[in-house]
């Protein structure tokens, strides 16, 4: 299979963005590019299926998704090695899937079932799979930017070539903790990648009421690089994240990556988005990240049937996961009082790292001095032949 270089594209408004070619071997194989499509489809179809469960009354509370933002979580997480760590936001289900989570655990979590990632202790997207190196988010945004910085601080103190990555929306950049995190990461030159998802609205508040100066311009003032990429171009997001992760591993400190995108659904299922002009939605609808990527693959000669088979396989997977999730029992009420305190500390596990770059790595010589970088290839992890 021939390697295909990452291509950068302009953002949705057509303005030029960072588009230099990768300096390193941040190349994607054909398999990698299909995997990107697969994870985006997994996210889209899982969220669509879960929205149905919500409308069927199977989900307490509300429902939040990342429709239109699939390229960001998937592209960014795809750049990470097994031993890297993630704090994922509620718009980035795809990042969980890249790291190895299966959709049934996500759906069960939404339904408050015992089979959910948190066993019913927390809802919706407030989860992180410990075994896969993820720390679950909290509702206060962007609190995880500091937690990710702390993960990175541990890597730095131990001299490990590892990266922490976290996601936040542009709304979060107005909060004081965002400043505290950027400043701390800048002062300590922490190996952390900050993924800023500018999806145009903080709930209903548009960019112009959120900040006077574009947050990406602030990166420089914290002492590190900030770049803007097309958040609907999965390969552009991937390329920027891969370069930022390499820079972090090399001791170059943090990077702020702004991904310009559009939240195509309401803030939650309870939000009809009446504040968004219809033309704006129409413009972004034409730039759907999944269709953009699929069209690009087709244009570059990928077998159309193979892409269709991929869609069908993902659809089947999501359906079987939904069945498994619905069959998962409710948690035993007794467990409500369990687990407030820990008996012991246990390490995070390594995540799945499907990018082919990690395929050939000798497990004994990874950045993990204890050889923690084990199986890294996640292809076919869910029995989907890509």
């Amino acid at each position: 299979m021939s390697a295909t270089d990452v291509r950068m594209r302009g953002d949705a408004r057509g303005s030029a963005t960072a588009g230099s070619r990768p300096e390193r071997a941040n190349a994607l194989t054909d398999q990698d590019r299909l995997a990107l499509l697969r994870y985006m489809l997994m996210m889209r179809l899982s969220e669509e299926r879960t929205l149905k469960l919500y409308k069927q009354g199977k989900i307490p509370g509300s429902f939040y998704d990342g429709c239109g933002q699939e390229a960001i979580g998937v592209g960014a997480a795809f750049a990470l090695a097994p031993e890297d760590r993630l704090c994922i936001l509620h718009r980035d289900l795809g990042a969980h899937f890249v790291r190895g989570l299966t959709p049934d655990r996500y759906m069960a979590n939404y339904m408050g079932r015992s089979g959910g990632v948190t066993g019913g202790k927390d809802g919706n997207m407030h989860f992180g799979e410990r075994e896969l190196g993820c720390v679950g988010m909290v509702s206060m945004l962007p609190d995880m930017a500091l937690v990710a910085s702390g993960l990175a601080l541990a890597f730095k103190m131990r001299g490990e070539r590892r990266v922490a990555m976290t996601f936040f929306g542009e709304g979060s950049t107005a909060n004081g903790q965002w400043h505290e995190a950027m400043n701390m990461a800048g002062v300590q030159r922490l190996p952390v990648v900050f993924m800023l998802e500018n999806n145009q609205f903080a709930y209903s508040t548009p960019n112009e009421l959120e900040f006077a100066v574009d947050p990406i311009e602030r990166a420089r003032t914290y002492g590190f690089e900030g770049i803007t990429v097309d958040g609907n171009d999965v390969e552009a997001v991937f390329g920027a994240a891969a370069r930022a992760a390499d820079r972090a591993r090399d001791g170059g400190g943090p990077t702020l990556i702004e991904c310009r995108t559009m939240r195509m659904h309401g803030h939650g299922a309870h939000d009809d988005m009446s504040y968004v002009p219809e033309e704006m939605l129409a413009e972004w609808r034409d730039r759907d990240p999944i269709e953009l990527h699929a069209e690009r693959l087709a244009a570059e000669g990928f077998d159309q049937d193979e892409i269709e088979r991929l869609r069908a396989a993902v659809s089947e997977l999501v359906e079987s996961c939904a069945e498994r999730a619905v069959a998962s029992p409710m948690p035993d009420p007794e467990t409500a009082e369990h687990g407030v305190f820990a008996d012991r500390w246990e390490p995070l596990g390594d995540g799945q790292a499907p990018w082919s770059r990690w395929d050939d790595r000798d497990p004994g010589h990874g950045p993990h001095a204890d050889g923690g970088a084990g199986s890294s290839n996640g292809h076919g992890d869910l029995g989907i032949a890509a």
Partner: protein, 343 residues
């Protein structure tokens, strides 16, 4: 744990806590330094972070000389950002480090409350991730610190499930509880009373010394009435009991979460007359919790209404006569005990 590349600096001449003897007389503050130094030498994942703790040695000099021994990576001077201190500590702890955060004054925890309460406190319950951090909180008044340098915020943490709360009253307990807090896999709020820093001295075992979290300490035995206290109020109770000369039992809670309920109930049942004393404000405080526990579980052993001696529900004022009026004084303690004895 990954085999990290932390290079341990050769220890320089130990400062403060002489370790040659099996036990030595240390101040409360020296005992805290000794605990930190002992744990940092024992375990290379232990590190300190906070404002002005490095070259300056901390606002109260707890980490004086640490940067020379342990290096600036492990005695991390941070920007003035309390959420950043606690938030990065949470991340580092999840990744296997044992951070000890210093709030310059306990009062400033309000600026780091979100990370402490919402992230650290709830992490294990929600996600099954242990967060072994210690937050050191120099607390307490009596020195004209005013409304922002004198508070005793422990009840805030008792309202936030997932946080352990300790408040030592002696030098030996200060060391033993801090060592236990560092080794505990949970977030621990360590309330160190500034008034005790240099005024309290006592024998402190050198080297390994732990005091279990969750166990109260009987300071003094008595039959007539019981004072339940912690922190600076323990000293007040001891002194009042000495001066009054009655048969007064004094119980030092030492840990507020988890509360040693058995010890509280035993001490209450023994005499049937209970005074709960602390320097923090009264309403919905530790005293309220302890009094509720006693009335629920030891009602039929009570011989007098449970009484509290606490700070008035006001911000701690600056001017000495005002502050003295607000904070419990020795005379207040004696008066309360006298009334309880006569009841």
């Amino acid at each position: 744990m990954s085999g990290g590349t932390i290079t341990r600096l050769e220890p320089s001449t130990p400062r403060g806590g002489g370790e040659s003897a099996a036990a030595s007389e240390l101040t409360y503050l020296e005992a805290i330094s000794d605990a930190l130094r002992t744990e940092m030498r024992r375990d290379e994942t232990v590190f300190c972070l906070g404002e002005d703790i490095g070259a300056f040695g901390g606002a109260f000099k707890v980490t004086d000389g640490f940067i020379e021994e342990f290096g600036e990576a492990r005695v991390l001077d941070t920007p003035l950002a309390e959420n950043a201190i606690i938030g990065t500590a949470v991340g580092a702890a999840i990744e296997g480090m044992r951070p000890v955060c210093e709030m310059q004054f306990a009062d400033f925890i309000s600026c780091g409350f979100d990370q402490l309460v919402n992230v650290a406190g709830k992490m294990h319950y929600r996600q099954g991730l242990a967060v072994p951090i210690v937050v050191r909180l120099p607390s307490g008044g009596g020195f004209s610190g005013g409304p922002f340098h004198s508070q005793n915020p422990e009840a805030w943490f008792m309202q936030a499930p997932g946080l352990k709360v300790v408040a030592p009253a002696t030098a030996a307990d200060a060391k033993g509880l801090l060592v236990s807090a560092i080794r505990d896999p949970n977030p621990v709020c360590f309330l160190e009373h500034k008034g005790l820093y240099r005024s309290v001295k006592g024998e402190v075992p050198a080297g390994e010394h732990t005091v279990p979290i969750g166990a109260a300490r009987r300071v003094r035995e008595g039959e007539e009435m019981t004072v339940i206290a912690y922190g600076s109020a323990v000293l007040l109770a001891e002194q009042a009991a000495e001066e009054l000369g009655g048969s007064i039992e004094v119980l030092d809670l030492r840990t507020l979460v988890p509360l040693d309920r058995d010890a509280v109930l035993a001490a209450a049942r023994k005499t049937g007359k209970v005074l709960i004393a602390h320097e923090a404000t009264a309403s919905a405080g530790v005293g309220a919790e302890v009094a509720a526990l006693i009335s629920e579980r030891a009602f039929e052993d009570l011989d007098a209404p449970v009484r509290r001696l606490c700070a008035a529900d006001v911000p701690i004022p600056f001017s000495p006569p005002l502050e003295q009026r607000v904070l419990p004084q020795l005379d207040d303690m004696k008066e309360a005990l006298d009334e309880l004895a006569r009841y």
